[in-house]
Amino acid sequence: MITTRRAFIAGTAATAALAAPMLARAASGAVVVIGAGFGGATAARHLKKLDPNVEVVLVEREASIVTCPFSNAVLGGSETMPGITRSLDALKSAGIRIVRGEASGIDPQARSVRLADGSRPAYDRLVVSPGIDLNFAGVRGYSEAAAERMPHAWKAGAQTVLLRRQLEAMPDGGTFIVAPPANPFRCPPGPYERVSMVASYFKANKPRSKILVLDAKDAFPKQGLFQAAWQAEFPGMITWVAGKDGGKVESVDPAAMTVKCGFGTQKGDVVNIIPPQRAGAIVHAAGLTTDSGWCPVDPMTFASTRAANIYVVGDASIAGAMPKSGSSANAQAKAAAAAVLASLAGRPAPSPALINICYSLVTPDYGISVTDVYQVSKGKGITPTPNAGGLSVRAPTDLGERKLEAAYARGWYKNISADTWG
């Protein structure tokens, strides 16, 4: 435990006056948060909510956040880009200082963050929520330039718009190839929701079209629910090829719009390559990762096990059984915020409460879900609570319930957005 400069000054000032105010001020300090996505924005808001005296600086590269949740609905045409774009204004109103810029480095000794513009905001505690970086080199022939022909659309924004335009321009009877990566990656059920949303669009607009899923994996989340729904809603449209059956993409040729896998060379009219991923660049430079490319953390607090006074939440963290999702990031950020404040006050960290709620849409009126409530211990890490959680029941037989879960999926989006960005 090293006393922070700010706590030191606050403590000295308090001593000069009375002992009591010292206690009240003990939790104050400066926290810098990197990234205003689900993890970072939740951490910033929660810190301020739990302790209005704490100074919170939120560093974000973009002016607003385009969420990955519901970006698949944009691809399917049932959602719009403004509908998945979140403003940072309410965070400002909550007393959080937003610094627009790219964090290019962390100095754990000086306890400061280096921004691309040369400024160096100092912190007592740092929360890092950088999300993912795409490993373009993980697929031979793929690159950032190739993604202009074969979009990944795995960071929502311009890539989402590009892929939607390509799908709109595709003739009826065309083939859409989707290539999901091996685990772990952001939003494990996401590729299959994407397939579903695009299939819904094809069914209504281009019914002779086909979707070919070339998978690096042999199984995927909610697989039974998805495949039953595909058979019922889009018979004959979707072919899924498992990694063991040659589905893993070995190389791509963006000029020819072909994809080479164990299953042969396939030509697509629209090709969506979802490359392997790793934690966002900032944590690599700071030495917060293992060889896996992700950040090890204390499961009780989300404190980095690699550097003092730094916490990592969201997709970048290695969080046991929790999937890399916006919902996971939100829960992790609250746990980290409580741990940060306890640490600043010199209290033991409280036990975290961790949960993940994940909805997927098959059609705009057909929702499925998976959830887990987690147990956390130093020894076992983060594990699902036995005999709890799991997949939607009464699926796919009860279409009324599927419609209700689709409505709740949209309700989840509204409410988690309000909880995260205000």
Binding site: M1, I2, T3, A7, F8, G11, T12, A14, T15, A19, M22, L23, A26, H46, M300, S327, N330, A331, K334, A335, A338, G346, R347, P348, A349, P350, S351, P352, A353, L354, I355, I357, S369, T371, D372, V373, K378, T385, N387, A388, G389, G390, S392, V393, E401, L404, E405, A407, Y408, R410, G411, W412, K414, N415, I416, A418, D419, G422
Partner: protein
Amino acid sequence: MRALRVIVPPLAVLGATLFAAPAALAQDGPSGQAMVQTCYVCHGPDGRSAGPVPALMRGQKEFVVRQMLDFKADRRPATIMNRVAKGYSDEQIAAIADYLASLK
């Protein structure tokens, strides 16, 4: 705590006492507050839902306990709450209800 111990003796004494408690002495499970805060992803901040997910009932401890126990035992059908409620012990459900009851 080095600097505080030298310069601010009263806080240093307090700090030393707190730090003597190892992290393992932290309570065994999450507080009612921590658990309820995870509900907000679906039910909205402070349980104020923008719809159509139902808002959380504040200030109604007995009602919340009964609903959660009914979800947990599959006495009340739901889309997802049966699966969620099974993740909590009866004591945790009481703590959840206590915190919700305290919310204005």
